[in-house]
């Protein structure tokens, strides 16, 4: 459970796994924000494919990252949301804040790819 971060140039992909609630979101937010700043990310992809449960704490996480990317004139992409999470996303009207995609491809990188894995 937690977040795995892959940086490909200025595109950052955060793969979220496990349950997202008030307890787990704290750590996830922290890890993502550090990586966004360290990599000077212009695009942040939040990958929800490994998420098993999400309540409005996950919406808070998305809204907060939207603000962060907005401040940096970057953009936020929401990817691979499982069906049961889609309902929570719709209540919040998340599609107005971020592009929602079913799939994505990270740019090919010759340089090093940073991977951070956390558990909680």
């Amino acid at each position: 459970m937690g977040v795995q971060i892959i940086a490909a140039g200025r595109v950052l992909c955060a793969k979220l796994t496990g349950d997202i609630d008030h307890h787990t979101a704290r750590q996830m937010r922290c890890e993502i924000d550090i990586a966004v700043r360290e990599n000077d990310a212009q695009e942040l992809i939040l990958d929800f494919s490994g998420v098993t449960f999400m309540d409005s704490s996950g919406i808070g996480l998305v809204m907060g990252r939207y603000k962060l990317m907005n401040e940096r004139q970057g953009r936020l992409v929401i990817a691979k949301t499982p069906g049961y999470i889609g309902k929570v996303m719709r209540v919040a009207g998340i599609s107005r804040l971020a592009k929602v995609v079913n799939d994505y491809e990270l740019p090919k990188q010759t340089g090093e790819v940073m991977k951070i894995e956390t558990t909680n």
Binding site: H23, F53, L61, Y84
Partner: protein, 147 residues
């Protein structure tokens, strides 16, 4: 009021780790009623919201007790009661407004009650300042209905 066909009650401290426990407790208990996956997901999500509210808002600076009680009645009617003895809500109507939050700096979306309202059939909130808050959520499990 008719007697429930099954019921359970658990009390646990307001530690954020217990948000997960509350969800597991509810879904474990309700398994006897054979709910549909999406109905169970709805109830789990609503319970998670209510318990999080107790932890974040009911007991902002202390650890207190949270009581989670679930009753199941005939025809699949489920009633969940989540209560704390925390600080209480000053203005319930305002607290329930979508996007209203007293803690925007902690990335709280202000959508807890909105989620509870849209995922459950019925919600009732009672609160007394300094005494605590009780949220009652109701949902009738699918009758496996015909078209």
């Amino acid at each position: 009021m008719k007697r429930p066909i099954n019921e359970m009650k658990v009390v646990f401290p307001s530690l954020s780790e217990n948000e997960r426990f509350a969800r597991i407790a509810v879904s474990g208990f309700l398994s006897f009623a054979d709910p549909k996956i999406d109905e169970l997901a709805d109830i789990k999500t609503a319970v998670s919201e209510a318990v999080t509210n107790c932890i974040v808002h009911g007991y902002p600076d202390t650890i207190g007790k949270i009581e989670l009680a679930v009753r199941v009645f005939e025809q699949g009617r489920v009633r969940v009661r989540i209560s704390d003895k925390g600080c209480g809500i000053e203005d319930i109507e305002k607290a329930m407004q979508p996007l209203f939050t007293t803690k925007p700096d902690e990335d709280r979306a202000g959508l807890g009650f909105a989620v509870m309202e849209s995922f459950m059939d019925k919600i009732k909130v009672t609160s007394r300042l300094g005494k605590g808050t009780t949220v009652v959520l109701e949902k009738t499990l699918g009758t496996r209905d015909r078209l």
